[in-house]
Assembly symmetry: D3
Homo-oligomer: 137 residues x 6
């Protein structure tokens, strides 16, 4: 059967502040600029999760995209939406919530839970102009 | 000369938390739901400012859209971008930062500073699906 | 209190066929072209519902946009999503499901059910390039 | 019958240079900045034309949006697409091709040719962030 | 010469119903949910076709994107636009019209007809949030 | 450390005319159609630059996306924005400014200047429907 990639786009609204806990305020300001404002800022994040697999001849699906949506909602969106990424999310503990770090953690959060489909890519848009992608490498 | 409306779209990333200071936590949770999470959340706000005026026969402009951009950037975006709307912005003091309240305050922040063009509309997108508009009424 | 307009964007996927039951096939083809193909076609419709009201000083809302979303979902989207507009929707009976006719029927479906907010506009995008708006006139 | 507004979105790609023929180069540079670069620049313009009328009970249309598309294509897009707005378009002669001036000329180009529908608005996006609207006033 | 990828985005509006002809109604409802509503629903599909090849030093093109548009229009869009994917399209016969299956059939419909350019990817957006990609594997 | 791809989207507005200097007018018209209109046309180009690298454990960045933005702005956008690609840009001299050729030149303009991050892809949207990608091959 042909191998097809299926992508679901989801979104969440969250606050964050970029900082390295080992830095003092002046260092954080120097490295992260306005992104390190002490009271935080926020984004409407867009998340694209891509899986790959053979098309099931019975259903015509790789993985029902509604099922993919529900899996990612339960494992990721439910925790991140309307949250503060620095303090509210257990599986982001100890990480500076840059888009890079959040994308890598999302990958590990969902990998192995996709009902046989292979996780290919986690893409995270922080704004309409800024995108990171992690592919498990 | 014909009267034309000119709109500039700008954006800012900010954190906020919805709450009424006169409510206790349970009341805030009941009224505002996840939007009142104590540590806040955030958005990529899109702001559209519309002015109206006669076309200047010398320039062909109502108000140079780059000038409109700079005016709104200086008066609004500089204060709101990468800020926490509950605590960082003097001209939002004392207001629950719903999209409605922020739009009304933005109107009053820029009205009278638009070099002769008449302010017609302030539109604020909190997400791709939620929009408020204030027209000075 | 200031009067603000609040808009919620929702979407639904539906099939339809344009035809006038009083026409024969040749007439329908002449008037509606490919839109009258007997087996139908479909769209991802985008619906924008706008209400207006004074900002409640207690909440900072005109009408909580999540409440607006739920009202329109229950009254409109639940019936139209994944439906065939020609045959599946009781409140579209007897109407050729052009965007104009559907928008007018959506207006009457929700008007009076918006908890005190005044309905201002129903905008319906049939494609990214085709839009109709009904304002109750 | 209810009155509905119908909008068609079209686009064209064109070059232009902003300048006032009565100015010398230094004046044009002072007023128009990079927009007056002598060799021009260009845009993917998005044009939204809105008409209003009663819904025809026979068709369910105000004006078939495909007919609206064809009318605007023939009268406007055919002349502007892949053209230089300063030199290639007879009905823009003598006008500095700002978005404001182009929108006003488009209005007069199509008004009266819309088969009974009333022209309500011409909206012209020069970029994703800059919009002008002319409503015939 | 450098190898470049060229993508053309096209769209079509179509109806479909998801079902397995070997299933009874209850099974189809269990597997496909609302997507198996007997009277169908529909979408504005966005199709992205990507080809790769060396840049021709005479033209600066891999394959003129207008030519790519015309080829895909003739081979694919003409058949799918304003059609019902379950019954109107010969080259979809015998296939449950999931996005996965439609994308694979589109690939085979155009592969070998692209005037020397190598087909790299067929991407099909069923909604703004659901995407499948077939790369010939 | 995990390897992540970071993409920045930027835009510029420019004029161009497609032509081969070795062709006469009739040949240019035959090959390039309206794109070879002698007075040129233009676009709002969208440019996406993607780099890859390991996440720096101190900052959580591969390359600060604001730094990536500034590098590409200085090396590319400053020269292309509000310019005529046929005559105003030294590093495009001698090339027919098709999207393919411009993307390849942008690659060579920025490759090696990205502070240790590896350049992966240059994607250039000429319109919302036409995209080219160069990956250095």
């Amino acid at each position: 059967m042909p191998k097809v990639r299926v992508t679901r786009r989801l979104h969440f609204a969250a606050a964050h502040r970029l900082c390295n806990a080992a830095f003092d305020d002046a260092q954080n300001r120097a490295v992260f600029g306005a992104c390190s404002n002490p009271n935080g800022h926020g984004h409407n994040y867009q998340l694209e999760v891509t899986v790959e697999g053979e098309v099931d001849p019975t259903t015509g699906f790789v993985l029902d995209v509604k099922r993919l949506r529900d899996l990612v909602s339960d494992l990721v969106i439910q925790d991140l939406d309307h949250a503060n990424l620095n303090v509210d999310v257990g599986w982001l503990d100890g990480v500076n919530p840059t888009a890079e770090n959040v994308a890598v953690r999302i990958w590990h959060r969902i990998d192995g839970h996709l009902e046989g489909a292979r996780l290919v890519s986690v893409r995270l848009w922080e704004t309409e102009r800024n995108l990171v992608e992690y592919r498990g490498e």
